[in-house]
């Protein structure tokens, strides 16, 4: 959210949370789940990026 908006909310007495907090993306590699893509090794990051969905 732009700083201006945030300041406006502050004026109305609102506190802001979540700045620079990312989303968590849980994925499965080899069979184990991994809580965050950051821990994937390079090859697995590439593989995850390439995954296409299978229509039912």
């Amino acid at each position: 959210m732009p700083a201006q908006n945030s300041a406006a909310v502050q004026e109305r007495g609102g506190r802001m949370v979540g700045k620079s907090v990312g989303f968590e993306r849980t994925r499965r590699i080899t069979g184990y789940l991994v809580g965050t893509l950051e821990r994937f090794n390079n090859a697995k990051r590439a593989e995850e990026k390439d995954r296409v969905k299978h229509g039912a």
């Binding site: 979540g18 849980t26 069979g31 789940l33 090859a43 590439a46 229509g55």
Partner: protein, 791 residues
């Protein structure tokens, strides 16, 4: 003679002619047919020294050149050759040593985010002190194994990427994994090596001890740990909890409604419950009530039962020491038998209902704690949590069902603020007649499992009805139900002991994978050539697996105080501390794996098995061939050689990187940063879910050491329970052994939303990194109770 020599690193040290003498002696001893007497040895050494003086040489490499030259000059050709080899070998080691030091530098100074080496395994945090310590040990061990343990050709095959020896750092130490039967382990308690634990007596302690057992075993092995019969094991804890809850509630009711003292309550409750032919059990509440009603209460009250003590005491005494417990109550002995019967029947109704409810609540909490513990408990010096798996779904007892249902519900709810739990890997065992069909006793749990999986990625689904699993199945015997370990390992058949084709107490000893695409590239389209290369590589892997097996066999029970000392591994209970584990290890599997069938087929035929029927036929032939070779080797050795569809986390990038350097970028083969997992249809290839399952299913039958098929669904299909069930049922019907559905699972830690998040969170509307007002979150909390508190 030079006074000093210059070492490789530039430092000067005093010259010592005996070093030259020793080196020549060693080289000469290594060859036959060229004996040198001590005089000969001294003569050559003196000649070397003289030359060094004459030419004013003092660098160690120069000295070695002169030694070679002098040996050749005086016709010691063989000794010269041995000396050259010895020099080369040492040079290689020195290079390798500096290579190892480079690795250590990377581990020490590079953050995991920029250093792939630190992210080899996604569930180990390479940035922590213990994670790094583990890597130092691991890299040092690999160096040692490569240079001092492995036969040269095998070491070379690993290093150049022909094969991959998994967990090579543990080569000298232990085995991969084990399927732990908690039931016999819990009986009479066990020792972790750091203290004895009594037999657990409530579902809470069953759950806690299950975690401890998994952790203790993980610390003695290099792979994961599984509970193949988690529901059956937890059911016993549920039953104990129920019985206690029942007794407590029964007594409480008797005491309050009968206005009894503590002592009267205890003796009367005991008299009644002991007189019954059965113990309180969840599924038998009704029968228990009938038995209770049928008791002869007149005979039940023994005459010698003392009257309560208060009547004998003086009133003044009571007033002075008044306690709530001592409040005058009617004496039990004064109560007519009919009234006691009536009281007991009412107490039963209350106790049965209360015990059911409170056991259910406690079971939920215990399963929740189990998941929390397995996601937070440290193992291996804190570098990781244990790699754990639990299999369940087939126990149809009321207690087993309660354990399954609550484990699923706790999984669905998630950790703390609704986070998805990473461990344990959960596997729901599907079996027709048990839970697959609507009329089956655990069908409701199968439905629940699918609902949870659609939300949390777990449980996965294993299929006992797949013919290769069904072959071992005996109804009612959990030991014959297939279980899968962690990512996919399967251990069930047993060539060594065909009477023990069981799940519990067994695991994989070690496994090594083939770089299948490289063989495909090297064959240059010649299928016969491909099989020649494949056979040679299989031979090498078998030799390597046996080399490692021999090392493992030399270990003793004392090396595995928990795994073997507590009798978890099959038959190890009969061994003494100093016995070798060779014979019991034979129950385990020696496994050959493979990676990149798709790329192999591309290299051989131009198309992969998702693209062409011909390629599929060839793919099945290739994997079938590997399987036949493993079966033959089993026959020949009496050991469980088996084939796994390798999980290949670290490997998917390693092989392709080496091959791209070697062969360049080959379209469909080396043009991506990974080789496709085992027999999977490539992840980038668009294909319908059903078709993918159809293509991959036959490989499950061939890969007896483990396999898995994934289907990737988008959020919408996944949110549709019918669609999800259709896919799981299709896997079952096609003969898949083990499968799961992948779907994007994102979470916004700020508003607690779990599901698919593209750029903007659908719940709170923020983008990644943006702030949102607490006020807005408070508003959202009115609609979604799982929004975290931010005040």
């Amino acid at each position: 003679m030079p006074a000093t020599i210059i070492k490789r690193d530039g430092t000067p040290v005093a010259f010592d002619a005996t070093k030259i003498l020793n080196a020549i002696t060693k080289a000469n001893k290594a060859v036959e047919g060229e004996p040198m007497t001590p005089t000969d040895l001294l003569f050559v050494t003196e000649k070397v020294c003289a030359k060094l003086d004459a030419r004013a040489l003092s660098h160690v490499e120069e000295i070695q050149d002169v030694v070679e030259e002098t040996l050749i000059q005086y016709d010691y050709a063989k000794t010269a050759k041995a000396y050259i080899l010895y020099r080369a070998e040492h040079a290689k080691l020195r290079n390798a040593e500096s290579w190892l030091m480079d690795v250590y530098k990377k581990l020490t100074y590079a953050p995991a985010a920029s250093e792939d080496l630190k992210r080899e395994n996604a569930n180990i945090d390479g940035d922590t002190a213990m994670g790094t310590m583990l890597k130092y040990g691991s890299e040092g061990a690999k160096f040692f194994i490569d240079n001092y343990v492995l036969p040269k050709d095998i070491s070379a095959a690993h290093q150049n990427g022909d094969i991959h020896i998994h967990d090579k750092d543990f080569y000298m130490l232990t085995e991969t994994c084990c399927q732990i039967d908690l039931i016999p382990l819990f009986k009479n308690g066990f020792s972790t090596g750091h203290g004895h634990l009594r037999e657990p007596n409530s579902i809470e302690s069953y759950s806690a001890l299950a975690c401890i057992a998994i952790q203790a075993n993980q610390n003695e092995m290099h792979g994961g740990q599984s509970s193949p019969n988690f529901d059956y094991a937890m059911a016993q804890g549920v039953a104990k909890t129920y019985a206690k809850e029942y007794k407590k509630a029964f007594a409480a009711y008797m005491q309050i409604r009968g206005e009894l003292t503590d002592g009267e309550t205890a003796s009367l409750t005991k008299a009644i419950l002991d007189a019954l032919p059965m113990r309180p059990r969840m599924a038998e509440a009704k029968a228990f009530g009938c038995a209770l009603a049928a008791l002869d209460y007149a005979r039940l009250i023994p005459e010698e039962t003392p009257p309560c003590g208060r009547a004998a005491q003086g009133q003044a005494d009571q007033d002075a020491n008044w306690e709530p417990d001592d409040f005058p109550k009617p004496r039990r002995a004064q109560m007519p038998p009919a009234a006691i019967r009536e009281l007991a029947i009412a107490a039963h109704a209350y106790a049965a209902s209360h015990a059911q409810k409170s056991t259910n609540r406690r079971t939920y909490q215990a399963m929740e704690a189990f998941i929390h513990n397995l996601n937070t408990m440290n193992s291996r010096a804190g570098a990781q949590v244990p790699f754990s798996s639990v299999n369940y779904g087939t126990d149809t007892s009321a207690e087993g069902r309660m354990a399954i249902r609550n484990l699923l519900l706790a999984t669905e709810a998630g950790l703390g603020n609704g986070e998805t739990s990473i461990f344990p890997v959960q596997i729901f065992k599907v079996k027709s007649g048990v839970n697959y069909n609507p009329e089956d006793p655990n069908y409701d749990l199968f439905k629940l499992a699918m609902r949870v999986s659609a939300k949390r990625l777990f449980p996965n689904f294993s299929f006992i009805d797949a013919p290769f699993n069904l072959a071992y199945y005996h109804p009612g015997d959990y030991n014959t139900e297939v279980a899968y370990m962690g990512c996919r390992t399967r251990v069930l058949g047993n060539v060594y002991d065909p009477a023990r084709q069981v799940t519990c107490g067994r695991g994989n000893l070690s496994f090594t994978s083939l770089n299948l695409p490289r063989l495909g590239i090297e064959a240059k389209g010649d299928i016969a050539r491909f099989y020649e290369l494949l056979d040679a590589m299989i031979d090498l892997v078998f030799r390597q697996l046996l080399h490692r097996f021999k090392i493992q066999c030399a270990k003793k029970v004392r090396n595995y105080p928990f795994l073997m000392g507590e009798g978890i591994w099959l038959d190890s209970g009969a061994l003494d501390r100093d016995d070798r584990i060779e014979n019991v290890l034979r129950h385990g599997t020696l496994t050959i794996g493979f990676i990149g069938l798709a790329e192999t087929l591309k290299a051989l035929s131009g198309r992969h098995h998702g693209e062409s029927e011909e390629a599929q036929k060839l793919g099945l032939e290739i994997i079938g061939h590997i399987r036949r070779r493993a079966d033959q080797k089993s026959e020949e050795t009496g050991l469980n050689f088996s084939v796994i569809a390798t999980p290949a986390e670290g490997l998917s990038g390693r092989f392709v990187a080496v091959d791209r350097r070697r062969y360049g970028v080959l379209p469909g083969v080396t043009d991506r940063d990974y080789y496709t997992n085992s027999f999977h249809v490539p992840v980038y290839y668009p294909i319908k879910a059903f078709r993918k399952i159809q293509i991959e299913a036959p490989y499950h039958a061939l890969t007896n050491a483990g396999h898995i098929t994934y289907v990737e669904l988008d959020g919408d299909v996944c949110g549709n329970p019918e669609a999800f069930e259709t896919i799981i049922r299709y896997m079952h019907d096609q003969g898949v052994g083990y499968g799961s559905v992948n779907h994007p699972l994102d979470r916004d830690p700020i508003c607690g939303y779990v599901g698919v998040i593209h750029d903007v969170c659908p719940r709170c509307g923020r983008r990644e990194g943006e702030a949102v007002s607490v006020e807005k979150l408070k508003e959202l909390k009115k609609i979604y109770p799982d929004v975290p508190d931010w005040e």
